[in-house]
């Protein structure tokens, strides 16, 4: 059983992100890491192939520096990496991203495509479903546990009201939620071994993608604005009836 895991390199979520007013894009000049959400996807993929045989291939689209994220996934145990970086793909919208990833995935031998539910920088949350649409295979989203028997994948799906049990026939796109497993730490042996693993660097032309990216991108960010600063709260000075005023305030807000 072969698994493709889609991964992305993002600005370290531990340091606050900033938008660049000139490009309208997230600044990527600070510390970049493998999206923590993707670590769960890589781990889910590794667990599937450890149980059923086969191998994990990671696929990523992003700038050259994204190689570090691919290498981390290889150090965790993925067998092969694919990174598509091209200037024309800068600032790609969700659909362009999905087209590029789907084209790269089509070139792989796969039974399951695993993604996170959304990236920790863009948060569009639609790429997994778009990839499934482009590949014309089912999308099983928000999985919190997964098992495969023969050509049938069963996933427990987290919803607002409870857990759905969903079955689908392979091949499928599966998006996994954070916390679905405990991602392994890359060992030193894994880190050193990652250097020897095959790394594919196709350009858009290799993937027959002449009409994606750049001017053909359907969505454009026309303006960005800072989130409004939180307004100052009301300070109640105690002149004998502060308690009553606080109770009235809370009652008014329907807190009590």
């Amino acid at each position: 059983m072969n698994v493709v895991v889609c991964i992305k390199q993002v600005p370290d979520p531990n340091s606050p992100g900033q938008l660049d007013p000139s490009t309208h894009l997230l600044k990527r000049d600070g510390e970049l890491v493998l999206d923590p959400g993707d670590e769960f996807g890589v781990e889910a993929g590794l667990q599937l192939v450890e149980k059923h045989g086969g191998q994990v291939t990671v696929v990523s689209m992003g700038p050259e520096r994204g190689l570090d994220a691919v290498r981390k996934a290889l150090a965790m145990g993925a067998a092969k990496g694919v990174l598509i970086s091209d200037d024309s793909l800068r600032g790609s919208d969700a659909l362009t991203t999905a087209k590029v990833l789907a084209a790269a995935i089509r070139k792989q031998d796969f039974d399951v495509v695993i993604t996170a539910t959304e990236s920790t920088d863009g948060y569009t949350g639609v790429v997994p479903q778009m990839i499934a649409g482009l590949l014309d295979i089912p999308a099983v989203t928000f999985a919190k546990s997964v098992s495969v028997e023969g050509d049938k994948l069963t996933a427990q799906r987290q919803t607002e009201t409870g857990i759905e049990v969903v079955e689908a026939t392979l091949p499928v796109v599966l998006s996994v939620t954070a916390g679905v497993n405990e991602p392994r730490y890359p060992s030193l042996k894994g880190i050193m071994g990652a250097k020897q693993k095959p790394l594919d660097r196709p350009g858009p032309a290799d993937l027959n993608l002449e009409d994606v990216g750049g001017a053909s991108t359907g969505q454009r960010i026309t303006a960005i604005d800072s989130a409004p600063e939180r307004a100052a709260g009301e300070i109640i000075k105690d002149e004998g009836e502060a308690a009553k005023r606080i109770v009235d305030f809370l009652a008014d807000k329907k807190v009590i």
Binding site: A75, P186, S187
Partner: protein, 380 residues
């Protein structure tokens, strides 16, 4: 910088592990004056106890810099004692087994130590002998084709929990001095081997420190590590590695506490401005930053030589001496800059102040370092 992209990736692994699995428990472990043995097993599982050991023995096959990465990152766990216990396991008690041990000894003691299944300790100091190693009184005499050991050891890190000890004992006559010393590997469960006391310390609280007693402990000939009568020289080699890794970890710890103090000085205000903006404090911070940077570069320069297989005794001694002195200044000044909060048990800086004092005593005092440097580098 001596570190490659692979070392950086290893650093990320260790940093993630430390912040997720050690740091959250540090306060509790310090309070309990113990941390669970499961930390050894978990680190063994992650390959962190055998970073620079050969793959043949379950190691990761890395170089000395990978051991330095571990020592540096462990200082972020919030408890000096945990880092020290791991250092004893990976860089003090087990390197002599790899270097001087038989294959059987490696299988029995090194392999499980790398897996974190056996905890190791190293027994040098005694109630009446510290720096003067050649005068140890613990004796091993020939008995029934093996050896019978009698004596006691003091201040033994991991001593309460250890599964075995690398023991320094006298096998020759007293006048043989350094030539009459032999190393032994002794299992905890051997009859006559007992933990007499768990000792209380100024710092390094999460680490267990023991007094051990040996009364008529019989071990076979195969318990001898290296050559009979060569123990002192084997041990001198071990001590170089111990001093170097201790220096690397300690100066990294100083850097961490310096960064915290710098952030504090930018944030804490007095008389209308951040305290770091007062020239008197600013200059203190500059002095520490300069000291730490220079000490670290020197440690790296010496580590590079050690990594290349050289044996730079005077330089290792200078590194440890200088790092110890810098660390004392860092600890004292950083505590002072924290004011009243620095004196509170909950402040990192107060724990660091207590923990870091050990570097000027453990693995050879400042005074012993100076004697070594005088003799080996100055011919005095």
């Amino acid at each position: 910088m001596p570190f490659t992209a692979e070392h950086d990736a290893l650093r990320e692994t260790v940093r993630d592990f430390v912040s997720r699995e050690l740091r959250p428990h540090a306060d509790e472990w310090e309070e309990a004056e113990y941390f669970p043995d499961s930390v050894f097993r978990r680190m063994g599982e992650l390959g962190l106890l055998g970073l620079r050991y050969p793959e043949t023995y379950g190691g990761q096959g890395g170089d000395y810099w990978s051991a330095i990465v571990l020592a540096e990152e462990m200082t972020r766990c919030g408890s000096g004692g945990v880092g020290m216990a791991i250092s004893v396991q990976t860089e003090m008690a087990t390197p002599p087994i790899l270097k001087f041990g038989t294959d059987e000894q490696k299988q029995r003691y090194l392999v499980p130590a790398i897996r974190g299944e056996k905890i190791a300790s190293l027994g040098i100091t005694e109630p009446d002998t510290g720096s003067d190693v050649a005068s140890v009184r613990t004796r091993a005499v020939r008995h029934n084709g093996g050896w019978r050991i009698n004596g006691s050891k003091l201040y033994i890190t991991n001593g309460v929990r250890a599964d075995y000890i690398l023991l320094v004992a006298r096998t020759g006559a007293k006048e043989d001095g350094a030539h009459g010393i032999t190393l032994f590997l002794v299992d905890k469960e051997t009859a006559g081997f007992a933990v007499s006391r768990k000792l209380k310390k100024l710092g390094m609280h999460a680490s267990d420190t023991a007094e051990l007693s040996f009364s008529d402990v019989d071990v076979p000939d195969s318990a001898v590590l290296g050559e009979v009568g060569q123990g002192f020289y084997h041990l001198m080699w071990e001590l170089q590695g111990e001093r170097l890794i201790g220096s690397a970890g300690t100066i990294a710890g100083a850097e961490v506490i310096f960064e915290e103090t710098l952030a504090w000085c930018k944030d804490r205000e007095a008389f209308g401005r951040p305290i770091g903006k007062f020239q008197v404090n600013r200059h203190k911070l500059v002095d520490l930053y300069t000291d730490i940077s220079i000490a670290k570069s020197y440690v790296y320069a010496v580590a590079e030589r050690w990594n290349n297989g050289e044996y730079p005794v005077a330089e290792i001694s200078m590194a440890k001496l200088f790092v110890g002195q810098v660390t004392s200044r860092v600890a004292d000044t950083c505590l002072q800059l924290h004011g009243g909060f620095g004196y509170m048990a909950e402040a990192h800086v107060s724990r660091y102040f207590r923990d870091s004092r050990l570097i000027r005593i453990g693995a050879g005092t400042d005074e012993v370092m100076k004697e070594i440097i005088a003799k080996t580098a100055l011919g005095l």
